[in-house]
Symmetry: C2
Subunit: 410 residues, 2 copies
């Protein structure tokens, strides 16, 4: 079967990737950037045009004395991809078109204390409604990228964690969701997906960087020369479980002093709850399924100048900064991106403190000034990355004209 | 110029690498393992034989009904490589033949408080003497791999550290050594080289693992799918500067609670010196240029059952175990190798405690039992890795018969 987009292996896949990143390119530019022969480019472009995946959009600027170049562009409506980020306290759904542009999104409550069956049912209902509202037929959706915190078995599509509920451990997650949704599902780590999403957004000035992802918990991602660091089985960069100097708080993982136990949103909220008058004043409720909502209340209080809220967040931000120092020292980085719903309001405070910690303590500080960036899509980066992962890695049949299929089934 | 061995890029280099790892292979096996056509294999093998790098050694077992296979092997005497590991308290020199076998070694005092000029002079003297004693002409030495602790600028061949003496920072190290020695010099990180050396030794049962390197300081290396993790500029995996939970000791790097400051050989010796009677009893002298000799005294006392020495080493080993937990959690590993002169005697004690910490605290412990191995060449792994790095990456001119040159110059 002639397929495109399966990793970077196929010629067609590489060309689609380049067009998705660059917007428009001529055949000559495609040849230059892929190192492929003009004949291969011509043949592959013809197949992609016949399949309705790519179209020509007139002529670009003439360079030198050659022929005017016809520019190529992805047909954004050829296919779509869904990205879903699920966490205990938050769920985000995005729909991207074939060119990678976000055309719809929705956010809902997280999985909370619910088991996987109830969560899958809610996801199916919401994804279906979102596609319907936007007039997208299910069979024009290439796939769904489901992103969760680790550890995962990506190949089998199951979670290797009993958090927050034992029913999640080894539940056939991607298979069940794919069956009920009628769309193939790929599993991906939330922080890795967020790194991928931010790289795509073009906001990170380098293709080698680390990412701190903070939702209910804390995760990490590393991109080196444009490629995600995967380790043995894609369960890498668990920076929430760096045991920090001076830290002694017990962590779920069995360790003490972990970044997540010392400084994660739940730890911040526990800090607020320790002072009942403060909790009442800030409207902190303490429901573990609503940690991020409480965290938002605290972050808004910081924005209005509340000193107690500021103190709690600053302590957390300093710890996260120290975890970032270890991330940077171990992976040899000079750029860190902050992403995830916990940074929605408190992002600038965290950015400042993480930058200060790196400037004081990163081993590389003498070589280059560490850069800390707040993600462009701070809340949705992971869901966007999940959908992009689908666009980049799921095979597209380049023989079948998608428009015809759309008419047939829509 | 026809060259071989420059990374994995060239056909000849890949074939030399395979022969170095496998010992002997037939042309058919080379074709199978490289995916190259029989014609390419035949042509390249002919060039390698003509250049005196490879020879045939009779016939292997017959498979099926085909022709009996002639086996190929590297000519071990075609070239040599030198590996030098320099640390504040220890220097190790090894000479490998072209097949990667160690044919000579020497160990001497480290750089101590000396500046780079004096250290380079000592290295030149010792390498020259070692080559002479073993009848190896300088122009049959492909290169020297110089391994030191980070940070380094490998491309420029300079150290980016003022430790232990400011004169080392930005000193033109590889250029000066190469000029005085008359042999090209490559710079490499000690822990990365040690990981490479152990992988080559075949003692690690997987090609994805982490390595803890302990000489005067503590470094780390990570190999994923057989390739070293390099990061932005090859200054990665600085596990000596993981700030550990509960740790508060000030570190040279400006941080507190770093693994090196809490648990490195110097910290262990400071612990012994804090009890003057103990220091006298164990023969601990406290000279910072002799930390590893003091550490050896302590390790030997442990071996004879001394309880105070055991307590000091066990505290260090537990901290190293916690640093290994972070290494494993961030890089997604299940195998850790311990290498470096500090493990020469105390290795088994460290192995046991690092294994215990990983079994209790590594996130992946539920997925697979973490494995901790003591390096085969615990003291010399880094120097061996430096020499192997030369053999694998420095180009060999495959046109010039080395034997003829050897006769001409030897």
């Amino acid at each position: 079967m002639a397929t495109a987009g399966s990793g970077r292996a196929t010629t067609a896949g590489r060309m689609l990737d380049l067009l998705r990143t660059q917007g428009t390119l001529s055949r000559v530019e495609l040849a230059e950037r892929t190192g492929l022969t003009p004949a291969t480019i011509t043949n592959t472009v013809r197949r992609l045009i016949d399949a309705g995946l790519v179209h020509e959009i007139g002529r670009g600027h003439q360079r030198g004395r050659g022929q005017p170049r016809r520019l190529l562009e992805l047909d954004p409506r050829a296919w779509h991809a869904v990205g879903i980020q699920v966490d205990r306290t938050t769920t985000t759904i995005v729909v991207l078109d074939f060119a990678g542009t976000r055309i719809a999104d929705a956010s809902l409550r997280g999985s909370g204390g619910s088991g996987p069956e109830a969560t899958v049912a809610a996801l199916v209902e919401n994804v279906t409604a979102l596609l319907q509202r936007n007039g997208i037929a299910h069979d024009r959706v290439l796939g769904t990228g489901l992103v969760t915190h680790g550890p995962q078995d990506r190949e089998r599509g199951v979670l290797l964690t009993a958090q927050p509920d034992p029913a999640w451990l080894e539940f056939p997650l991607t298979r069940t969701l794919a069956d009920r949704l009628g769309i193939p599902v790929l599993l991906e780590n939330d922080a890795t997906a967020a790194a991928f999403g931010e790289q795509w957004a073009g906001s990170v000035p380098t293709d080698t960087f680390g990412l701190v992802y903070m939702a209910s918990g804390i995760g990490g991602g590393v991109v080196v020369d444009g490629e995600s660091y995967r380790g043995r089985a894609s369960n890498a960069v668990e920076i929430g479980h760096i045991a920090l100097g001076g830290g002694l708080a017990p962590c779920l993982c069995g360790n003490r002093g972990c970044a997540q136990a010392e400084a994660g949103p739940r730890a911040v909220i526990e800090g607020a709850l320790a002072d009942p008058a403060l909790a009442v004043r800030l409207g902190i409720r303490g429901d573990p399924d609503d940690t991020l909502a409480d965290f938002e209340r605290l972050a808004r209080a910081w924005r209005t100048g509340d000193r107690d809220a500021t103190q709690l967040l600053e302590r957390s931000a300093q710890w996260i900064g120290r975890a970032a120092v270890t991330l940077v020292n171990l992976f040899d980085l000079d750029t860190v991106v902050l992403a995830g719903p916990a940074f929605a309001t408190a992002g600038p405070l965290y950015r400042r403190h993480v930058a200060a910690e790196l400037e004081q303590r990163a081993l590389s500080r003498a070589l280059s000034r560490p850069g800390v960036h707040l993600a462009t899509n701070v809340e949705t980066a992971a869901a966007i990355g999940g959908a992009l992962h689908v666009l980049r890695t799921m095979p597209v049949d380049v023989r079948r004209p998608p428009r015809a299929a759309e008419i047939g089934s829509g």
